[in-house]
């Protein structure tokens, strides 16, 4: 109703004046307000709409009120209004008509009950109105079918399809899914705005890379170009989850606005006369069952690997000195959730110091579903002797066999030589004397010794840039540029000021000349030019001589000049107009006095 209220305010003043004059011309009595309400037509079929009309006679002022809601009817809140003032047999008739578009949503008889409305501050009542909604005719049904077909066609113009290898997946399992975007060849698609975006929190997907393009794909008896992405999809939580994809494509459409080229040929989007629009393309929602991993028979080493795998391990050396690092590479090959597979961990081992592993994956980088995941551990032997590199256990869940599997790496033998022991020269002990355990070094304490000195420097802290002469010399360049800019700018400005001064002097000379000739017309014309010039300068107006009297006053007010000065200039401008255009008697004029006043005003207009 707010809109309704606003609508009434949008009428021209003349219309009101006319209406008021008509009212004044009438008997002078307060007109009686009469309200009618009805539907036009009063009976419609389900697929058609009717107009709910309210006719107010005797007032044109904005009414206030709200139409009651009637279930089964959708009433527009943007009414059409019509006002009419007529004089019939000397009696003024005022009429205001409001028409609300109404659309039924179901069959039946609907009545908008009587409802209150405020007109001219007086409460009034809008009478009840009834609409009969009939069953749709055959024509209506055909139209509806046509509309549905159009929507179906639009859906078939661009759509997304995606494949799932199974109806269900296991929690944490990775599957390869093909997501295809199909674009109908007859639609003028210009580009794909973005790759399909997954609409589900229950799955994580690998990145959508470059799509594989395929032309002339036949679907629904139509020719399509398909763009497909192969992705790895990993389920994150168990339960039934819906999965869909959305994308956006840009398409050229006809220009709706009427243009001089409003012809079928010029409006053909293929010829570039249309405009581009973004269309959202969606896939169907698929419900996917994510099964939880069985709890029974779960090995203690299991840490989330789901798939079918084989393992392999190797060490880079089998004979080292104490403290020398050995690289153990543990490889897991096969098909599965490589993206969410943590590194298998060793059991605690006092013979080795084991660092965190480095990860590397070789295989299908797009889906990360099939390939080999390598974990490279750096292990440092802490005791000499013939040691065995600790075994790594790996457990995974096989979704095809639907059971857990456990495998372990082979035991690698490693020979560790003790190496040379350091004896503190200052605390030389006799042979055979035991070294206190607290003073014994472990290999954890070893650091890498650099055999080259590297770059020699004289101080620990390099000297600051502020102490460098080169830095200060470099500052001369921007300083010189700044000075040059300042010089050029000031020179340009000074030249401008000079020319303005010269212009002002010329004007004053002319003013004096016309004073000596006693030519009041030219004197005032010159006087006006000076004022225009000075006011123009104040506000940097590009063409001050084109300024009218009002504009000059406006500019002076904008420049916050004294009120006294503004009023003086206003009077002067009126005087100029009077002398120039109104033919005021010039004999009584004292030009010398005017000249003196002019000098004062010009001085103040700085």
């Amino acid at each position: 109703m707010n809109l309704l209220h606003r609508y009434f305010c949008f009428k021209t003043l003349t219309y009101y004046i006319f209406a008021l004059s008509m009212l004044t011309a009438s008997s002078g009595q307060q007109p009686q307000v009469q309200i009618e309400a009805y539907f036009e037509p009063s009976a419609v079929t389900l697929s058609n709409s009717s107009a709910y009309k309210i006719i107010i006679q005797g007032s044109q002022n904005s009414p206030k009120g709200s139409i009651p809601n009637v279930p089964g009817l959708e009433i527009s809140n943007n009414p059409k209004t019509f006002r009419k003032v007529s004089l019939i047999n000397g009696v003024t008739s005022i009429k205001l008509e409001l028409s609300f578009s109404t659309r039924p949503t179901q069959k039946g008889i609907f009545t908008i009950p009587a409802w209150p409305i405020m007109i001219d501050g007086q409460p009034q009542t809008v009478p009840a109105a009834t609409l009969r909604v009939l069953a749709p005719t055959q024509l209506d049904i055909e139209n509806q079918q046509k509309q549905n077909q159009q929507q179906q066609d639009l859906k078939q113009a661009a759509f997304i399809e995606f494949s799932m290898p199974r109806e269900y997946v296991y929690e944490g399992e990775t599957i390869v899914s093909n997501v295809g975007l199909f674009l109908w060849d007859r639609m003028p698609f210009t580009r794909i705005e973005n790759a399909p975006v997954k609409q589900s929190e229950a799955f994580s997907a690998t990145e959508f890379g470059q799509p594989a393009e395929k032309r002339n794909v036949i679907k629904y008896n139509k020719n399509y170009t398909s763009y497909s992405w192969k992705i790895g999809l990993t389920s994150t939580t168990s339960g039934n989850h819906s999965l869909s994809y959305h994308s956006s494509v840009r398409v050229r459409t006809n220009n709706k606005r009427s243009t001089p080229f409003n012809s079928p040929f010029f409006n053909d989007p293929f010829f570039g006369f249309g405009r581009e629009e973004s269309i959202k393309v969606s896939s169907e929602n698929k419900l996917i069952e994510v099964r939880p991993l069985p709890k029974s028979g779960r090995p203690s080493q299991f840490n989330g690997a789901v798939g079918a795998f084989k393992i392999r391990s190797k060490i880079d050396r089998d004979h080292v000195s104490l403290g020398d690092p050995v690289r153990l590479t543990f490889s897991i090959s096969g098909k599965g959730n490589f993206t969410s597979m943590p590194a298998p961990s060793f059991e605690k081992n006092k013979d080795f110091k084991i660092g965190p592993p480095a990860f590397s994956f070789q295989g299908d980088m797009q889906t990360k579903f099939e390939g080999t995941q390598n974990f490279e551990y750096v292990i440092t032997p802490l005791t000499p002797g013939l040691l065995k590199v600790p075994t790594l256990y790996f457990s995974y869940f096989d979704p095809d066999l639907e059971k857990y599997q456990s495998i372990s790496s082979v035991e690698h033998p490693l020979r560790v030589d003790p190496g040379e022991k350091w004896v503190d020269q200052g605390n030389t002990r006799s042979v055979g004397e035991a070294v206190p355990s607290s003073k014994r070094f472990t290999t954890q304490d070893l650091f890498q010794t650099e055999s080259e000195p590297g770059v020699w420097q004289n101080t620990f802290i390099s000297s600051s840039l502020l102490q460098s002469i080169a830095f200060w010399i470099t500052q001369i360049i921007p300083l010189a540029a700044f000075c040059l800019l300042l010089f050029i700018g000031l020179k340009k400005r000074y030249r401008g000021v000079q020319s303005h001064k010269q212009q002002e002097i010329t004007f004053l000379k002319d003013l004096k000349k016309y004073l000596s000739y006693n030519d009041s017309k030219k004197f005032f014309r010159c006087y006006r030019s000076i004022i225009q010039f000075k006011v123009g300068l104040l506000q940097s107006h590009p063409n001050p001589y084109a300024l009218s009297s009002d504009e000059l006053i406006e500019l002076l007010e904008k420049a916050n000049k004294e009120k006294d000065l503004i009023s003086k200039v206003r009077l002067l401008l009126i005087k100029f107009d009077d002398y120039e255009f109104a033919g005021v008697d010039q004999k009584t004029l004292n030009l010398k006095e005017e000249f003196r006043q002019a000098l004062k005003i010009i001085k103040k207009l700085k």
């Binding site: 020269q425 890498q448 010794t449 600051s464």
Partner: protein, 270 residues
């Protein structure tokens, strides 16, 4: 004759330089050999000798490793810090320093911001400050003479000024941190003939061995020398010729007089 003398001077200079270069390289390689043969104390002496001639990150890194192996954590920390001053991006030194500090039981407070405001970032702040100043000044002058309305200048000038303030703060703080670095000392181990079972160094109330200790500091801890009112380092020389420094921790929680041989300047070789 003059030509002959000047040539001789130049030749002498070049010769002395190459001798110095040779001596520091020789000392370094001798130290590496001594270390490889297990003679760590000789290696330490040789590295120390080389460090008096010149400095290199690898030299101080190796020296720190040796001090660590000989359980002189204070000197190990000192040399790792020096190695990091010469090669700030070396992760191995940083990790070794952390390990040495952990072994020595010393907390080393370091904020994330400190890496942007240390002595090595002064040049970055100064270059940014001068560039911003000149670019802004030139652009504003140009626009002013192009006839830009004065009201339009308020916002760009405000942004320029705020940016200059921020960069000036960065440059000022970095310079302050640099000067702080020159006053930083690392607590090193006490002389072996002095008995101190806990290895902790006392910070005394007065500059004298007989004075009671305010507090104790561990080898490897960082302390800063106090400045007197005339901006000189506050020190005292006792009758026995022993030099004392008035030091304090960065948070001022520990303060007192310490013997000069119990601390080593981070940026100065003794």
């Amino acid at each position: 004759m003059t030509r002959f003398i000047s040539t001789l001077v130049v030749l002498c200079f070049i010769g002395s330089q190459s001798l110095i270069a040779n001596s520091k390289d020789k000392l370094f390689y001798d130290a590496v050999r001594a270390e490889a043969s297990g003679d760590l104390l000789t290696a330490i002496d040789l590295y120390e000798g080389a460090s008096k001639v010149s400095k290199s990150s690898n030299l101080h890194g190796n020296l720190a490793n040796l001090y660590f192996k000989t359980e002189k954590y204070g000197k190990a920390v000192l040399n790792y810090r020096r190695a990091l001053l010469l090669d700030p991006g070396n992760r191995a030194f940083q990790e070794n320093l952390n390990f040495a500090l952990e072994t020595a039981g010393v907390n080393f407070p370091k904020t994330d911001l400190s890496i942007y405001l240390n002595s090595s970032s002064i040049d970055f702040w100064i270059i940014s400050l001068t560039s911003t100043f000149w670019v802004g000044a030139l652009a504003l002058a140009f626009l002013y003479f192009q006839g830009w309305n004065q009201k339009k200048f308020i916002f760009p000038i405000l942004i320029w000024f705020l940016l200059l303030c921020f960069l000036f703060w960065g440059a000022y703080t970095s310079t302050g941190n640099k000067s702080l670095l020159t006053r930083e000392v690392i607590v090193t181990e006490i002389n072996e003939n002095e008995s101190n079972a806990s290895q902790n160094i006392p910070l005394r109330r007065f500059a004298g061995s007989g004075s009671s200790a305010n507090t104790y500091v561990k080898p490897g801890e960082s302390l800063w020398l106090n400045l007197s009112s005339n901006s000189l380092l506050q020190s005292h020389k006792s009758l026995s010729g022993q030099k004392w420094f008035l030091v304090q921790s960065i948070d001022n929680s520990k303060k007192g007089w310490v013997k000069s041989d119990a601390v080593s300047f981070l940026t100065r070789s003794e």
